[in-house]
C-alpha cells in the first residue's frame, strides 16, 4: 500500500520534454474548435468564485454556451471574495531577483515536494498574464506614487511578488471576474442560476454529461445536460465546523462527483492558518482570519514561563519568547503557514498560551509602531486592526493581538490530470476543489493565483480539447441516467426530512467538527485516527437516526440545505481520516506525531510517500480503493524544508 508504485488508472498526461516549454507545446498540440462551431457546445460551470467566474466568462467569450450555478444570491458572493492578502506573480517589478523559475521553485518547496512539477511551473508561467488581465479589467491594485503597481513580500517569500488591493484582494479579483461574467450575461452567452445547489453529476456511459440541481428557493430539482461539467466549488474546510470558510462552503459537489467516478486525492492535506482570531465561546459559528501580511510587521511571542497571566505590556522583554524568531532566525515571523501553526500549537501545549482559554499567542505591533509610526501601520493594516477590534473588543494599537491557528484551506481535492480533467471524463475540476498545485502546504497568495490560472488560462484550452476530441452526442435530459440521478437526489432529501430525530443539524455538524479537529487537525496519530474512524462511522449512524430537520422540501429551507451538506461531510470525513492514517510521514499540513525529527520538525519519507494518494469510491458500504500517482522531481532537488 504505502509504496510509490503508480496506479495505471491515474494518467497524469504530463507533457514530455523540457519543463519550460511544456505548457506552450501542450497547448499547441491540443485540438481547437472553429469559432463558428463553438456555439454548438454547452458547458456547465458549478461555483462562481475566482475559478468558476473566470472560466465561465472566458469560455463564453470564446463562443461556447455557458450556464453557471451558485448557491449564493449572486455570483459575486463566492468565498474567494474573502481572500485578503494578495496574489503572487513572477513579474519581478521590484527587481529583487524574482522569476518564473523562482516562483515555481518556491511553490514546489513550500508544498513540501508533494505537488507535480509541471502543474506548478505552468501556474508560475501564467501568473504574469493574470496580473495583466486583471489590470486591464480595471481591478484597482495598490499603486506606488509613480503610478506603477505596488507589491509586497508575503507569507514566507523572500522576494516581493505579491500584488494586492488593500486587504481586499480576493474581493477585487472576484469582482473583476464577476464583471467579465456579467458582460457575457448581457451578451446572452452565459445564463446564470443563483440560489441553486448541484446535488449530483450525471454520468452517461462513463462521461460527465450533466448535473442535477436543487433550487434553494422553490426546492425544485432540475436536470441540466451539457458537453462538459466544470466543478469550481472550493474546499472542504467546513468538515471541521469551525474554519475561516464561509458558512455555506461545502464538499457536496465534489463528493457527489466522487461517488460518480471522480477520484479524491490527498484529502488529509488541510491547511491550518496561523493568524486567526481565537475562539471566544461555545456559540462560535466561524473563525476569522487576519491576513498573514500582519506577520511582516507583527512579532509573535508567548511568555517565557508557563501560566504567566500578567498583562502583556507588563511582561519585560527578557521574559518573552519570540519563538519563531528564536527557532527560525532566517525566516523569523515569516515562516510558512504550517510551520507557524504547529509552533503555536506546541507553545500552547506547553502551557504558555495566553488569553482566557490559554489557546492563543500574541502578535505584537509595538515595535513596528515605535519604528514606523502609528500612521504607517494604520495605512498598512488599518482595516484588519479595525476588524480585530470589532470582533474582540480589544484595541490592537495599544495591546498585542491574540491569534490562534484555524482551518483555512484544503490542498486536497478531486484528482485531476494536467488538463484539470478528473477520472470521470468530461468533468473538469478547478481551483481549490482540485488537488493539483499546492502539494501538502499552500503558500500565501497562491490560491488566488491558482483559481484564476485554472479559470482564465488552463481550462479554456483543455476543455476545448475535450469538446474537439470526443464525439459528444446531445444527451436529452429524459435519458435514464438523468432520471436515476434525480430520483436518488430526491430520495436523499426526503430521507433527511423523514428522520424526525432530536438533534439539530448544527449540533451534529459541531460534533463532527470537533472529532476532525481533535484527531485530524494540526497533529495526527495512528491511535487517534483509528479511534476517530470508528467514532465517525458511529456519528454518521446517529445522524441518519436522530437528526431533526423541520419544514418541507418544497420551499426555502436552510436547515434542509445544511443537512444535505453535513451528510456529505460525514462520509467525506471518514476518507480524510483514512488518508491521514495511510500517509505514514509528516509533510506540509499533514503532521503525524510519529514522524518528526528530534527538534519537532516534520519528517518526510520520500522513499515511500513521494506520491499522490487518490481514492476510488467502490460503491455503498464498500471500502475505498487506494491508487497512487508517483511524483517525480527532475528540476527541483528534494531537500528537507528548512526555514532556520
Amino acid at each position: 500500500m504505502s509504496s510509490n508504485h503508480a496506479s495505471p488508472m491515474l494518467d497524469s498526461k504530463i507533457p514530455s520534454g523540457n519543463l519550460k516549454d511544456a505548457w506552450t507545446n501542450h497547448k499547441f498540440n491540443l485540438p481547437l474548435i472553429n469559432p463558428a462551431n463553438r456555439r454548438k457546445f454547452k458547458i456547465l460551470v458549478v461555483g462562481t468564485g475566482l475559478a468558476g467566474s473566470s472560466a465561465a466568462a472566458t469560455l463564453a467569450e470564446m463562443g461556447y454556451e455557458v450556464q453557471t450555478f451558485c448557491i449564493q444570491d449572486s455570483p459575486r458572493r463566492a468565498h474567494s471574495i474573502a481572500a485578503q492578502g494578495g496574489i503572487n506573480a513572477a513579474k519581478n517589478y521590484k527587481g529583487d531577483g524574482d522569476s518564473v523559475h523562482r516562483l515555481f521553485y518556491d511553490t514546489v518547496k513550500g508544498g513540501d515536494y508533494r505537488a507535480r512539477e509541471h502543474n506548478v511551473h505552468r501556474l508560475a508561467e501564467v501568473s504574469v498574464d493574470i496580473i495583466d488581465q486583471c489590470v486591464a479589467q480595471g481591478v484597482p491594485f495598490a499603486r506606488e506614487y509613480g503610478g506603477l503597481l505596488d507589491t509586497r513580500s508575503f507569507g514566507g517569500a523572500q522576494v516581493s511578488r505579491t500584488f494586492y488591493a488593500r486587504g481586499q484582494t480576493g474581493q477585487q479579483l472576484l469582482l473583476g471576474a464577476y464583471s467579465a461574467l456579467m458582460r457575457q450575461v448581457s451578451a446572452g452567452k452565459v445564463h446564470v442560476k443563483t440560489r441553486c445547489e448541484m446535488v449530483d453529476v450525471v454520468n452517461v456511459d462513463g462521461v460527465a454529461r450533466g448535473i442535477i440541481t436543487r433550487d434553494l428557493v422553490t426546492g425544485a430539482f432540475e436536470r441540466h445536460s451539457g458537453d462538459a461539467v466544470l466543478l469550481c466549488t472550493g474546499g472542504y474546510g467546513n468538515a471541521f465546523y469551525l474554519s475561516t470558510n464561509a458558512k455555506t462552503c461545502n464538499v457536496t459537489a465534489a463528493w457527489r462527483a466522487h461517488k460518480r467516478g471522480a477520484f479524491f486525492a490527498n484529502p488529509c492535506y488541510t491547511q491550518i492558518h496561523p493568524t486567526c482570531i481565537p475562539v471566544s465561546g461555545d456559540y462560535q459559528s466561524k473563525l476569522t482570519l487576519m491576513s498573514e501580511s500582519l506577520r511582516n510587521d507583527g512579532r509573535v511571542w508567548v511568555p517565557e514561563t508557563k501560566g504567566d497571566k500578567r498583562l502583556p505590556s507588563t511582561i519585560p522583554e527578557s521574559e518573552r519568547d519570540y519563538y519563531l524568531e528564536r527557532r527560525y532566525p532566517s525566516f523569523g515571523n515569516l515562516v510558512p503557514r504550517d510551520v507557524a501553526s504547529r509552533n503555536a500549537k506546541s507553545v500552547c501545549d506547553e502551557g504558555r498560551g495566553v488569553g482566557p482559554t490559554g489557546l492563543s499567542v500574541y502578535l505584537d505591533f509595538a515595535d513596528a509602531i515605535a519604528r514606523d509610526g502609528r500612521s504607517t501601520i494604520e495605512a498598512r493594516y488599518g482595516n484588519l486592526f479595525q476588524m480585530y477590534q470589532r470582533i474582540t473588543g480589544e484595541d490592537p494599537y495599544s495591546e498585542p493581538m491574540r491569534i490562534f491557528p484555524a482551518v483555512h484551506y484544503t490542498m486536497g481535492g478531486l484528482w485531476v490530470d494536467y488538463n484539470l480533467e478528473s477520472t470521470l471524463p468530461g468533468l473538469f475540476v478547478l481551483g481549490e476543489a482540485n488537488f493539483s498545485d499546492h502539494g501538502s502546504n499552500r503558500l500565501g497568495a497562491s490560491a488566488l493565483m491558482q483559481g484564476l490560472a485554472d479559470g482564465y488560462y488552463v481550462a479554456p484550452a483543455t476543455v476545448t480539447a475535450h469538446l474537439a476530441g470526443r464525439k459528444l452526442e446531445r444527451i436529452p435530459t429524459s435519458h435514464d441516467a438523468f432520471g436515476e440521478a434525480e430520483a436518488s437526489s430526491r430520495a436523499r432529501f426526503d430521507k433527511l426530512l423523514n428522520v424526525n430525530g432530536s438533534r439539530s443539524v448544527d449540533q451534529m455538524h459541531r460534533a463532527l467538527g470537533q472529532l476532525n479537529w481533535d484527531n485530524c487537525g494540526m497533529a495526527r496519530t495512528k491511535e487517534g485516527l483509528e479511534k476517530a474512524l470508528k467514532q465517525v462511522v458511529q456519528l454518521r449512524e446517529e445522524f441518519w437516526g436522530d437528526v431533526k430537520v423541520l419544514g418541507d422540501g418544497r420551499s426555502l429551507n436552510q436547515a434542509l440545505e445544511h443537512a444535505g451538506r453535513v451528510a456529505d461531510f460525514m462520509e467525506f470525513s471518514e476518507l480524510m481520516m483514512r488518508d491521514a492514517l495511510v500517509r505514514e510521514e509528516s509533510c506540509g499540513g499533514h503532521f503525524r506525531e510519529e514522524h518528526q525529527t528530534e527538534d519537532g520538525e516534520a519528517k518526510r519519507d520520500d522513499d515511500k510517500f513521494c506520491h499522490v494518494t487518490a481514492w476510488e469510491h467502490k460503491g455503498k458500504d464498500q471500502p475505498h480503493q487506494q491508487h497512487n500517482e508517483a511524483l517525480s522531481f527532475e528540476n527541483v532537488k528534494l531537500t528537507t524544508r528548512s526555514y532556520k
Partner: protein, 255 residues
C-alpha cells in the same frame, strides 16, 4: 472593553416572519439570553437552535462569510440597515453593542425592487442586472499589455479602490427613503470613470446602468445621504456626484 464573558444580556427580539412573497408577514416575539461577545448572527443561531428544539422552523436569514465582505447578510435592526454601528455589516456586529433589557426589532431590507423570499431573505438580483448593463470593461481574456504599461496616479487608484470596496449588500437601498440604488450604481460607475481602462465605454456605461436602475423599480436620489450613513464600507456620496456628472456629460455627448 474586553470579553465580559460572565455578563449576560436579557433581550426581547421582534423578528419578521413571512412564509413567502405572497404572505403579508408579521413580527414574532422571542426572548433570549446573549453573551456580549457573540456576533449578532450567532445570537440568531441560538434563537434558531431554541426554535428547532421546540419543533418550530428556524428563522431564515441570509449570511455566508460572516466576516463582512461577501455582502450576503442584510437585516434592518432597530430601523437601521446592518444595525447601530457605523461601517459594520450585520455579521460583524457584536452583542456588546446592545444593553441588558434591550428590545430589538429585526426586519428584512425593505424596497419594492427587493421582494421578500422568506422571513428575512430578499431577492437582490436587480443589483446583478445593473452591473450587466455596463459595470465592466469590455476586454476578453487573452494577452493584454503589461500591467505597468497603464500607469495610474495613486490618488485616482485610491479613489477607485474606495468606490470598488462596495460589497453589493443593498443597505443603501434599504436606507434610502426613495429606495434608490444610486450609491450602489455610482460606486461602480465611479470606479471605472476614475481609471483609464473605463474610458472607452464611459458614456454607454453610465447611461445603461442608470436606465437599468430605473427599469428595476428603484427610486430617485433626493440627497438624503442615508445611504452613506448605512453603507458598511463607507462608500461616499461623492460617487453619486461623480455619477451625476458622468451622466450629464454622457447625455450631452450622445446628442
Amino acid at each position: 472593553m474586553g470579553g465580559h464573558s460572565d455578563e449576560i444580556l436579557h433581550l426581547t427580539l421582534n423578528i419578521w416572519r413571512q412564509s413567502g412573497a405572497d404572505d403579508p408577514g408579521e413580527f414574532e416575539t422571542h426572548t433570549i439570553d446573549a453573551s456580549p461577545s457573540m456576533s449578532f448572527l450567532e445570537m440568531l443561531d441560538v434563537v434558531n437552535e431554541n426554535l428547532q428544539e421546540d419543533g418550530r422552523e428556524a428563522v431564515a436569514f441570509d449570511h455566508d462569510c460572516r466576516e463582512g465582505i461577501c455582502g450576503m447578510c442584510s437585516l434592518v435592526i432597530n430601523g437601521k440597515p446592518h444595525g447601530p454601528e457605523s461601517e459594520t455589516t450585520t455579521c460583524q456586529l457584536h452583542m456588546r453593542s446592545f444593553s441588558d433589557g434591550d428590545v430589538i426589532w429585526i426586519e428584512p431590507f425593505r424596497a419594492k425592487a427587493f421582494p421578500v423570499l422568506r422571513d428575512l431573505i430578499i431577492d437582490r438580483s436587480p443589483l446583478d442586472r445593473i452591473i450587466q448593463a455596463g459595470g465592466f470593461v469590455s476586454i476578453n481574456t487573452g494577452a493584454p499589455q503589461d500591467a505597468n504599461a497603464i500607469p495610474i496616479a495613486k490618488e485616482n487608484a485610491d479613489l477607485a479602490m474606495d468606490a470598488a470596496a462596495c460589497i453589493g449588500c443593498g443597505a443603501c437601498v434599504a436606507a434610502c427613503p426613495n429606495a434608490a440604488a444610486m450609491l450602489f450604481t455610482a460606486a461602480k460607475v465611479s470606479q471605472l470613470a476614475l481609471l483609464p481602462q473605463g474610458e472607452p465605454e464611459r458614456e454607454g456605461r453610465v447611461i445603461g446602468m442608470v436606465e437599468q436602475m430605473e427599469t428595476e423599480g428603484f427610486g430617485h436620489c433626493t440627497n438624503h445621504y442615508d445611504c452613506m450613513a448605512a453603507c458598511p464600507k463607507g462608500i461616499s456620496t461623492d460617487n453619486i456626484a461623480r455619477m451625476n456628472r458622468e451622466y450629464l456629460r454622457a447625455s450631452v455627448l450622445s446628442r
